[in-house]
């Protein structure tokens, strides 16, 4: 009887073993490979998406004019300098005032940290457009003051006269020739962005509104600080404190 059972089992052993082996191989080998196939398919889809994005970015980049961008970048760097350059600010204010017959007698400003550039200013700690304020004591006629106020509205770097206090000190029977006043001027600067564009990010675009603003800024007068005093041999920077 026992021999009979063993004999019968021997009959089924081989096919059963084959089925069992296939089942084992299915779970051990086949399923991980199948998973790998799906993973690779997902990877291909991701690559397709990346290729689409990169191709689009490449075609957009190739249509841009480097010369025009240089020009705009130069203009905008003039409008909003990357660094808090108080020397430049004072020089520009002085130049504009002198050109319009306003005599600066004193100034007061608190530049704060001037070494702060894009890499050292954490984004969350900065204002949207950081600024620096300078208080200027001046003497001028009302006409000249009027001209200066209007001039500050159309120059680069962008400045804003926050307040003006004007007090005629020299009166000549009703006319005020040279009077003294105080002007608070706000100057803006904008550090360079921390990220200058990566492959993964889509290309930023200059919109029609941006273009309009650039065109508007082009009409503004660029004021560059004077490089040197006439007749002097300048070594290093001009002294901004010598008004």
């Amino acid at each position: 009887m026992k021999k009979n059972i063993l004999e019968n089992l021997q009959l089924f052993l081989l096919p059963a073993l084959a089925i069992f082996t296939v089942l084992i191989l299915f779970f051990v080998f086949f399923i991980p490979r199948l998973r790998q196939v799906f993973e690779q398919r997902g990877k291909i889809l991701k690559q397709d998406e990346e290729i689409r994005r990169l191709t689009q970015k490449y075609s957009e980049l190739s249509t841009l004019s480097e010369a025009e961008l240089w020009e705009n970048s130069d203009l905008l760097s003039n409008a909003l300098p990357s660094q808090k350059d108080f020397y430049q600010l004072l020089s520009v204010i002085r130049k504009i005032c002198l050109e319009n017959g306003v005599n600066i007698e004193a100034f007061e400003l608190a530049p704060g940290v001037i070494s702060a550039t894009a890499s050292s200013i954490p984004a969350e700690k900065t204002e949207k457009v950081p600024n620096m304020t300078v208080k200027v004591v001046f003497s001028s006629s009302f006409e000249n003051l009027k001209n200066v106020l209007l001039k500050f509205e159309e120059i680069l770097p962008l400045m804003e006269v926050v307040s003006v206090k004007y007090e005629p000190s020299l009166r000549d029977s009703g006319s005020f020739i040279y009077s003294r006043g105080e002007m608070t001027i706000k100057s803006y600067f904008l550090p360079l962005p921390l990220k200058m564009g990566t492959f993964d990010q889509p290309l930023v675009k200059i919109t029609a509104a941006d273009q309009k603003l650039i065109e508007k800024l082009k009409t503004f007068q660029r004021v560059t600080p004077e490089a040197s005093f006439e007749g002097e041999t300048v070594v290093g920077r001009e002294n901004p404190f010598s008004f």
Binding site: R33, Q40, I44, L61, L150, V164, K165, G174, G197, D210
Partner: protein
């Protein structure tokens, strides 16, 4: 007359032989199942290996294309950084420019107020468009002229509030005024 015939099933094969045949039948089915399993498994395996091979090749090719595109984009690095910087600064300028008060109108209005015979005492113009001024007039005619100009400015409706905090006549005969204009 119908005769009922009873069917009898007679198997002359021995019981042991019958069992043996059944076992052999089961064995045959099992073998077929095993062969089918192996065949299906092998074909699926071949398909998967083929798919893996093709996908792998595709991934490599696409990766090469991506690398090439990145290289091409990299050659425009300067252009891109310029563009980012331009857009960033434009956004900054968009914040600054509309917020800036225009002094053009204020100063031209002020200039029109400076009539002969008016001595400006103090003038304050703030960023919100507020104008505070004080001064004195040599005579009543100057004050009348000043008022006429002020009426003109009022009619333009540029200021929401126009008021005199004080107007007085000094012993010297001069008229002192304080005037506030608010946008």
């Amino acid at each position: 007359m119908k005769v009922k015939i009873k069917k009898l099933s007679i198997n002359l094969i021995a019981q042991a032989a019958q069992d043996r045949i059944l076992l052999l039948k089961i064995k045959k089915i099992l073998w077929r199942a095993a062969i089918a399993c192996v065949c299906i498994f092998v074909s699926l395996l071949l398909l998967i290996i083929l798919a893996l091979f093709l996908f792998d090749r595709q991934i490599k090719l696409k990766q090469e294309k991506i690398s090439l595109l990145k290289k091409q984009i990299n050659s425009f690095e300067k252009v891109e950084s310029l563009l980012v910087s331009v857009v960033d600064k434009v956004k900054g300028a968009e914040v600054v420019l509309p917020g800036r008060p225009g002094y053009g109108e204020s100063v031209s209005n002020l200039a029109s107020l400076l009539v002969p015979g008016f001595n400006l005492g103090e003038l304050e113009v703030s960023v919100e468009g507020k104008i505070k001024m004080s001064g004195n007039f040599n005579d009543v005619q100057s004050l009348t002229n000043f008022n006429a100009r002020l009426e003109e400015i009022k009619s333009k409706k540029l200021y929401s509030k126009v008021f005199y905090p004080s107007v007085n006549r000094a012993l010297s005969g001069k008229y002192n005024i304080e005037l506030n204009l608010e946008r």
